[in-house]
């Protein structure tokens, strides 16, 4: 092997700034999309378990529609498909203010919301029905029973699969490069293009993604311990 590594391409010239800006965009894109995904996931996951069919139908439609179309297609849909449907003024404002970012954020949020929904539904369905009965028997409405008892218990039960789903969301944010969001993968490609140093550029991207994911997993493990329900099977001792 006679490849000469030249790691300095990562911080010489504009590379360092590109990487940092890419990292910032990835974090903003993923963070906002995560909030959308969790909100949609909790609402639709809970709706799929309520004793009222119209709500279940709406939530089921959302989940099956959004999780069964590839994320890439959603990115294109929100970026190329939706803006022409908007009034001209809003469209112009959007394209002046990073339309690709918002399209990518929505695509990522609603796609992962549908997947998060299933995680939350499985958490709710693992709670005995008698918990819900006890909650309404003291006078809570169905909405209050979900908000104060059922969902808080379910969220504590689903931290491990929700963590995996959150990491998938972060990694899938890289798909947004296809609609030219200048996120981390976009920037590593750019460094590669400018320096012809593929291994160095992609290694930087890999290490940064790895670091982010391990960091998030560590935080979530802490959250899991902090909010564990006393009396349930804990992590091995």
């Amino acid at each position: 092997m006679n490849y000469q590594f030249n790691w300095s391409v990562l911080w010489s010239g504009q590379s360092g700034g590109w990487l940092l800006r890419g990292l910032g965009t990835t974090l903003a894109l993923s963070g906002l999309a995560w909030l959308v995904a969790v909100a949609l996931g909790i609402v639709s996951g809970a709706m799929r378990t309520v004793p009222w069919k119209p709500l279940r139908v709406v939530a089921t439609f959302y989940v099956e529609f959004f999780r069964n179309v590839p994320l890439l297609v959603w990115m294109f849909f929100w970026y190329f498909g939706v803006p022409p449907l908007l009034p001209l003024a809003i469209r112009e404002w959007l394209f002046d203010h990073g339309a690709e970012f918002w399209a990518g954020m929505f695509a990522l949020g609603v796609y992962h919301g549908a997947r998060m929904s299933e995680v939350i539904r499985s958490g709710i369905q693992s709670i005995p029905k008698t918990q819900f009965e006890a909650a309404v028997a003291i006078g809570l409405t169905t909405f209050q029973a979900y908000r104060l008892v059922i969902v808080p218990i379910a969220l504590r039960l689903i931290v491990p699969p929700a963590t995996s789903e959150s990491l998938n969301l972060l990694k899938n944010s890289s798909v947004a490069l296809t609609i030219s969001v200048a996120e981390l993968t976009f920037q590593t490609r750019q460094i590669e293009t400018y320096t012809a140093r593929a291994i160095e550029a992609l290694t930087a991207g890999t290490v940064i993604y790895l670091g982010l994911c391990v960091g998030i997993a560590t935080i979530m493990a802490h959250v899991e311990r902090r909010f564990a329900i006393p009396g349930l099977i804990a992590r091995g001792g």
Binding site: P128, E133, A134, A135, A137, I138, L148, I153, F227, I229
Partner: protein, 246 residues
């Protein structure tokens, strides 16, 4: 003057094709303690679960505290604040402390301040004789203690009626009495109670009336001394011979 607080009028209920309650006619007066007994599958749990509308009925009428549960638009959450329920499996909220379990409905439904609700909750814990467990989580309590917290949680809404669905069936023998003692206190204080139980000693001492059910029907109603000494129906005598002789 007597006040009828629960009235079943020709109530019928099905689970799918299974006819679980057949033409039930039954009235409970204010301050009365009614024990419902009968073989398993006789419909006794279903009967009391209808009273706070955890189970809907398909025929007849059920009037609780002056409200017909079959009337369209009946406000079930409001009704349930006036009808407390204690379950066989305790059903405390596992992610909340004992105190939080008891305070939840007073704060969220009645709008009490946290300080006021906490004062009420601590007084109730005194009443069920576990004042020192306020900060514990349900998982760290014995079954008998959990069930007494469940009673306190129901009482926190100051209900007019208390329903007990086999409250001691999931308990070890030595814990049954601590729960029955609390229930006996409650009955002595004049609470209207419907109790599904196999504890015939409790029924004999505390109940004003025994309702015996079999196959979805009320077979017999009698004051306890009469019921235990001379049940009229064969089915009740057979049931008693099985549960009183072990």
């Amino acid at each position: 003057m007597t006040d009828t607080v629960i009235e079943f009028r020709d109530v019928n209920k099905w689970f799918g094709n299974i006819h679980v309650l057949r033409d039930i006619n039954l009235a409970v007066e204010m301050g009365e303690v009614v024990v419902v007994c009968g073989p398993s599958g006789s419909g006794k749990s279903t009967l009391i679960r209808c009273v706070n509308a955890l189970e809907p009925i398909q025929g007849g009428e059920l009037v609780v505290l002056g409200e017909s549960l079959t009337k369209p638009g009946v406000n079930l959450p409001a009704l349930r604040t006036r009808v407390g329920m204690v379950f066989q499996s305790f059903n405390l909220f596992p992610h909340m402390t004992v105190l939080e379990n008891i305070m939840l409905a007073p704060v969220k439904v009645r709008g009490l301040s946290a300080a006021e609700a906490s004062r009420v909750a601590r007084a109730l814990l005194e009443r069920v004789r576990i004042p020192d467990k306020a900060e514990n989580y349900p998982a760290n309590l014995s079954g008998g203690q959990q069930q007494r917290v469940a009673i306190a949680r129901a009482l926190a809404m100051q209900p007019k009626i208390m329903l007990f669905d086999e409250p001691t069936s999931a308990l070890d023998p030595e814990m049954i009495n601590e729960v029955l003692d609390v229930m006996t206190d409650l009955a002595r204080d004049g609470m209207t109670m419907m109790v599904v139980t196999h504890e015939m000693g409790f029924a004999r001492r505390v109940a004003h009336r025994i309702v015996f059910m079999d196959a979805g029907q009320v077979v017999e109603e009698a004051p306890p001394d009469l019921f235990f000494a001379a049940a009229k129906s064969d089915r009740a005598r057979e049931f008693l011979s099985k549960i009183l002789t072990h």
